[in-house]
Amino acid sequence: MIEAIGLTKRYGTTVAVDDLSFTIAPGRVTGFLGPNGAGKSTTMRMILGLDRPTSGKALIDGKSYAQLDRPLRTVGALLDAKWVHPNRSAKAHLQWLAKSNGLPDRRVGEVLDMVGLTAVAKRRAGGFSLGMSQRLGIAGALLGDPQVLLFDEPVNGLDPEGILWIRQFMQSLAAEGRTVLVSSHLLSEMAVTAQDLVVIGKGKIISQGSTTEFIEKATENSVLVRSPHLSKLGPLLVDKGYTVRNDDDGALTVVGATSDQIGDIAGANGVVLHELSPQRGSLEQAFMQLTGDSVEYHAEIGK
């Protein structure tokens, strides 16, 4: 279990993480979601005792990271696959990690097998492709057979096969009863990986709960209406309390009503309909909508 209690981090005047509190339960994959610069990596570094919180604290199974004895046996983390000396072999990298936490040398071979790097174990890590580096990072995280795992954007830059592999891997780790926290800025990725979501923007909590719940809540259900009598239908729908938007191409988007309800109103008032189609907003749109105000860097499109 991972707990954050009022976690805050300031770098000079930037508030990277702002009073975050959440609990990550075991046995599930929890997605840690937020746009670029939201503070995901900073939060993870504070959970792992690398960065000192300005205030608040993070606990792993009730203890701070520094209080853990042989921490790799409790927590495994992949924050950055490049945290390896490029001239050191994959095996040597894992050997010193294993040694530092009193793990037997054979464990190195086991995790190398698990991630499929046995054949290249003696090659220098600097020559690894991104996917191989990522696997080496995961091997390091698994070394102590920990109950708690943290992954920071583990699928960044991976090919579809690699993404699938990591996804299934994290799910199997959670199925074994471990706590798995994985960060990402892609909701679509998290939708298929994580059962729970902690969503942050500009360092603040936006939402916390199950993934399906989040998607349902977040995805706006709207109906697209085309009709020669829109000027008559529009006010009728507004009277019923639905939100109505005029689209550029002469259609209406109605939010909050089902297509049945709109059809009934149209029929009762003798309005001819040319189109009545329910729209389901994409996950990406939902995410944009929720984090819209809290995106750190806005791209100016088409200007």
Binding site: R45, R52, A66
Partner: protein
């Protein structure tokens, strides 16, 4: 103990320490051979003369020691280290100990290697190590190398950047300490308190062997040779303590 083993694995599983060690030993001992081969009646070979290139080895070993820390910061492995060993002070002390012991061993190899090769080349020269001054001059090299390595690890930990740490160490040890002597009157008084001057005093005090002008400036040191070593040690360890306190406080 495990931490020492960890740092040993880390150090020896990269290439730069091997390069530095090889360079320090071969170049220093090689130059000692060249010096010995060129000694003659006018410039006779002696124990002190055989050691006159050991500063080169020391500088290379300091670069190695600084790199042992700064490369960890550069490649982010310091974070992997602190994840494995959250007690940062312990981890860094273990690293310092491993690097210092290695530096000490290299120092002895360099010193006795230089002495040995000189003896081989000029078997008739008076190369017997039979005074405490001579013993200090040769066997003391390891101690000076080890303490210089401690100093370099401390600077590396504080600065974290390879270029910065290496430049600071080398410019300070090789240039600043001697340039300070240019300041009229007070220059020498300051020099008498500078750490590498003391390291040199420890190695060469009372040894008349160096030709005039070749050795370090003859200063009026406040301590005798062993006092100088203690002073050098105090400064190196003091700087290490500061570095450890800083590393403990700041974000990794």
């Amino acid at each position: 103990m495990t931490l020492l083993a960890v740092e040993r694995i880390k150090l020896f599983s990269t290439r730069s320490p091997w390069w530095c060690m090889a360079l320090a030993v071969t170049l220093t001992v090689g130059m000692a051979a060249l010096i010995a081969a060129n000694t003659n009646d006018e410039f006779p070979l002696s124990v002190g003369v055989s050691q006159s290139f050991s500063n080169f080895g020391m500088i290379v070993i300091m670069v190695m020691a600084a790199l042992a820390v700064t490369t960890e910061y550069r490649f982010g492995t310091i974070r992997a280290t602190f994840l494995a060993v959250p007690g940062r002070v312990q981890a860094l002390i273990a690293k310092t100990v491993v690097v210092a012991v290695l530096a000490g061993v290299i120092g002895e190899v360099v010193a006795f290697g230089s002495w040995g090769i000189s003896t081989l080349i000029k078997p008739n020269a008076d190369m017997a190590i039979n005074s405490s001054v001579e013993w200090r001059n040769v066997a003391g090299t390891g101690l000076v190398f080890a303490l210089s390595a401690v100093l370099a690890v401390a600077v590396g930990t504080l600065v974290r950047q390879t270029a910065g740490a290496v430049a600071i160490l080398l410019v300070y040890a090789l240039l600043v300490e001697s340039l300070i002597g240019l300041i009229p009157k007070i220059g020498v008084n300051i020099q008498e308190w500078m750490p590498f001057m003391h390291a040199n005093n420890f190695l060469t005090a009372d040894s008349a062997a160096l030709p005039e002008g070749a050795g370090p400036p003859r200063l009026d040191f406040p301590f005798g040779p062993w006092g100088s070593l203690a002073y050098f040690a105090a400064i190196s360890v003091g700087l290490l303590v500061v570095a450890l306190a800083v590393a403990k406080k700041r974000d990794a």
